[in-house]
């Protein structure tokens, strides 16, 4: 099958990929210290397994997965744990999060690793457990725990695995490079994944602007043991978005709110495939990755094999950073990456690119103007949304309309902002609005629970009060009855009668007991 489909919208920003010499892997070396954030993925942070002062070997477990949606963390090299404390992490907020600092001893002394000799004969469950133990989180950007994704067959039978070698963002060539130098590993990894998922079909998707990778992958696919198709399609941003890619390759759309798994499809990044291959065949956990370090403010841009936890400062030094004409440091690509305030943060599992452009290359945007409803954004949106309406409603904080206009289906690709002639930071509006709506939903759940508890408490108090009141009434009635029997009408007599009655009752009780 060679037909591919087209998606709505999309843009063609300058590619700038040749800048980082795809196809060549450089070594970033071992920096003096590594800083490893506990949370490098979507889901719960893992729990620490080491303490300050511990000496660790490469591949040793530093933190173990906590719950299902979580991944463990391993030491990328040998050394001593020197600190466990909040440090700045690569995150758009610029906030700190708990990190482990590892002083490297330079010996790179690793644990003995052991993989499966014959993975074909292993049960998928066993292999998934190994993937999980290897600390693999999706390397295509979102960092979703791969092992969780591999549980998809429990939902529905899977039939297709897509290896997403699109790499549609400008500048980034990490996957391109990987596909050129490790095509066979990728295909092997894909075969393992296919085995786990029980799918019969593997699609290797490569955009038509990477001829070298395409040839390499075709060659590797030809040698593969399974049906392995290499598919190529016209370059357009954001074809690499999972949902977009699925539409390009199959013509089907992932239903809103659903997962590719609902269509029987699982989509993985080539880097993830290699990590899986490493985990299964060698038992090697995920501790390094290829990072594209690029931009015209660098003397030696390129693709660097980098240990997780390497401070970006160190990488910039290796790549020959020239600070004079640069104002921005971007984690990720120019379209979806976020700007970092400082280079004093580490590389994590999802760091596919560090971009340091000059001011001429990516100028600081001028102040936003008013939206003129020109509709260019709607033309560009790959999700067929109306970005301008979402913008207006986000400004108005109109959650009802945001929902009506399907804010949730926005993939935050930034195509709309890119074309907007008024330079409106549209994506930021959507992210803020999504946050706002998530908060409201959480708040709603909270307040519903509080209401329930408040009402329950009120009811309980009322019951208690009623019970007390009933008791009091009963006592009063009893006393009155007594008084009436005594024929005395005045309160004093009644009180005396009551006291007497009490005493009698007490006497009776004690007498009985």
């Amino acid at each position: 099958m060679t037909t591919v489909f087209d998606i709505h919208g999309g843009i063609h920003p300058p590619e700038e990929k040749s800048l980082s010499n795809p196809g060549e892997v450089l070594d970033a070396g071992i920096p003096p210290t590594l800083v490893l954030p506990l949370s490098q993925h979507i889901g719960k942070p893992p729990t620490l397994e080491v303490a300050i002062g511990d000496r660790v070997k490469g591949g040793q477990l530093l933190a173990a997965a906590e719950g299902l949606v979580s991944v463990p963390l391993h030491a990328p090299t040998s050394g001593v744990i020197t600190a466990i404390e909040p440090r700045p992490v690569p995150h758009p907020s610029g906030l700190e999060n708990l990190c482990v600092e590892l002083r490297c001893d330079g010996e790179d002394d690793w644990l003995e690793l052991e993989g499966f000799e014959n993975w074909q004969s292993e049960a998928p469950e066993t292999l998934v457990a190994s993937v999980r133990a290897a600390g693999i989180a999706g390397m295509g950007g979102a960092g979703f725990p791969t092992a969780v994704k591999l549980l998809a067959p429990q939902r529905a039978p899977m039939h297709t695995l897509i290896i997403n070698g699109t790499e549609c963002e400008p500048y980034i060539t990490a996957d391109d490079t990987l596909m050129q130098v490790q095509a066979a590993d990728i295909v092997l990894g894909a075969e393992i994944l296919a085995h786990i998922l029980g799918v019969e079909r593997i699609l290797l998707a490569v955009e038509d602007n990477k001829p070298a990778a395409l040839t390499a992958m075709q060659a590797a696919a030809a040698d593969a043991g399974r049906v392995c198709e290499v598919m190529t399609f016209p370059t357009k941003y954001p074809s690499g978005g999972e949902k977009q890619l699925i539409e390009i390759l199959t013509g089907k759309q992932v239903p809103t709110g659903g997962l590719p798994a609902d269509l029987g499809i699982v989509c993985q990044n080539p880097g993830t495939a290699v990590a899986v291959k490493n985990a299964i065949c060698e038992g090697r956990p995920l501790t390094d990755r290829i990072v594209t370090v690029t931009g015209r403010a660098l003397a030696r841009p390129g693709n660097y094999r980098t240990r997780l936890g390497t401070p970006i400062d160190h990488l910039l030094g290796v790549a020959g950073f020239e600070p004079k004409n640069n104002r921005r440091l971007i984690h990720g690509g120019p379209m979806m990456g976020f700007a970092l305030e400082s280079a004093d943060v580490p590389v994590i599992k999802t760091t596919n690119c560090i971009l340091v452009p000059t001011e001429q290359e990516l100028p600081t945007p001028p102040p936003a103007q008013a939206c003129i409803r020109c509709g260019l954004c709607a033309e560009a949106c790959p999700a067929s949304l109306l970005p301008q309406q979402l913008y207006w409603y986000a400004r108005a904080r109109d959650q009802e309309q945001l929902e009506r206009h399907h804010l949730a289906d926005c993939i935050e690709c930034g195509a709309c902002s890119w074309v907007c002639p008024s330079h409106i930071p549209l994506v930021q509006y959507y992210r803020a609005a999504k946050g706002m709506m998530a908060d409201s939903r959480a708040e709603k759940i909270r307040s519903d629970r509080s209401r329930g508890r408040f009402e329950a408490r009120q009811e309980r108090l009322e019951q208690e009060a009623a019970a007390r009141e009933a008791q009091r009434a009963a006592r009063r009635a009893a006393a009155q009855q007594k008084a009436a029997q005594g024929g005395a009408d005045d309160p004093v007599a009644a009180a005396i009668a009551r006291a007497k009655a009490k005493k009698e009752a007490a006497a009776e009780e004690s007498g009985e007991s």
Partner: protein
């Protein structure tokens, strides 16, 4: 070292608002040139004079609103408004007419709503309708086209602008006026009687329309706006005209070709109803918006009091646009009804 924190995307496409506006301005050029050829330099003079007034007016509004004027003045939007208004005005309008129109456009049509991007009505058309209602006499005085009368020179044009009443050129009803006024005549008789009615839609007018269309198509090609609104309008206008046209009885409302090429049809289709700010938002919405403008345009032209109804049709639809938007969303990714065979 500290870097700037700017949200993604970090790059930006080539287009800016100012460039969008410049493109539109540029695209009016062929039409204006042909207008000048047939009706003399009046329109050109108006555009220049009106542009200056508009800039002054925009500056004053911004100053009143305590806004930094430079970024707003440099977005060219007020020039688009004034240019479009001046193209729609009769060529030898006196200065006070132009000025009143610009004031109405820029202040009433634009700045009381918050300026660029916020105006629910098309400012140029607001200006035009205010003038049409207030000064119907001056607004229905059209110069006779080249070939039927003498085309005034530059001097005459300036005189007409500066000393109202001094210029006394040959004026003549436009073909649409004629059609409107001579309900009792057969179309053939009308063509025979009135020299300005020639084979398609009237001397001068047909060429003006064709040139505006050319400019508009160029802008669509340049990606500044989509084809939906213009096509919706022209198709609907054509359909209505075809339905109402019975090859020329006295009840007949003019052929589709006549409607397409007369008055402000093409100018409206490509420059007025495409105003993004006051129009419908989605492509579906724009198609509907255009079609309804076409329908109203035909109805008012043929049955109403205003021979060239474009401005009214546009304003009415501007009023309805937010409502149209509520019901013309595109189908978002993942919301396509699943077909059975896709399972």
């Amino acid at each position: 070292m500290s870097f700037l924190r700017i949200t993604s995307p970090h790059g930006h496409g080539p287009l800016t608002t100012a460039q969008v506006m410049q493109t539109v301005l540029l695209a009016t050029l062929p039409g204006v040139v042909v207008l000048t050829w047939f009706f003399g330099p009046g329109t050109l003079i108006n555009i220049l004079f009106g542009g200056a007034v508009a800039l002054a007016c925009e500056y004053a509004s911004l100053w009143l609103r305590d806004r930094e004027p430079a970024p707003y003045l440099s977005d060219y939007s007020v020039l688009v408004t004034s240019t479009l208004l001046c193209i729609a005005l009769p060529p030898y309008a006196p200065w006070w007419l132009v000025t009143t129109g610009i004031l109405a456009s820029v202040i009433l049509g634009k700045h009381v709503f918050g300026g660029l991007g916020y105006n629910p009505f098309n400012p140029a058309m607001v200006g035009y309708v205010v003038l049409l209602i207030s000064f119907p006499l001056q607004m229905s005085t059209w110069q006779a086209p080249r070939g039927l009368g003498e085309v005034p020179g530059l001097g005459d044009s300036v005189t007409a602008l500066l000393t109202p009443g001094a210029y006394d050129g040959v004026t003549m009803a436009t073909p649409l006026d004629l059609l409107r006024q001579n309900k009792g005549l057969l179309l053939d008789d009308l063509y025979a009687q009135a020299p300005q009615m020639v084979q398609w839609a009237g001397i001068g007018w047909e060429w003006v329309n064709i040139e505006f269309q050319a400019g508009g198509v160029w802008v669509i090609y340049g990606g500044v706006f989509t084809w939906h609104a213009p096509v919706g309008m022209l198709v609907m206008l054509g359909l209505c005209a075809a339905a109402g046209f019975d090859s020329g009885s006295s009840e007949s409302g003019g052929s589709p070709l006549f409607h397409w090429l007369s008055g402000a049809t093409m100018f409206g289709a490509f420059f007025i109803i495409t105003d993004p700010v006051s129009g419908a938002t989605s492509n579906r919405g724009r198609l509907l918006f255009g079609a309804l403008v076409g329908l109203l345009l035909y109805l008012i032209r043929v049955h109403g009091n205003y021979p060239d109804a474009l401005a009214f049709a546009v304003l009415i639809l501007n009023f309805a646009a937010p409502f149209i938007d509520q019901y013309t969303q595109p189908v978002t990714y993942g919301h396509r009804p699943q077909r059975e065979d896709e399972e």
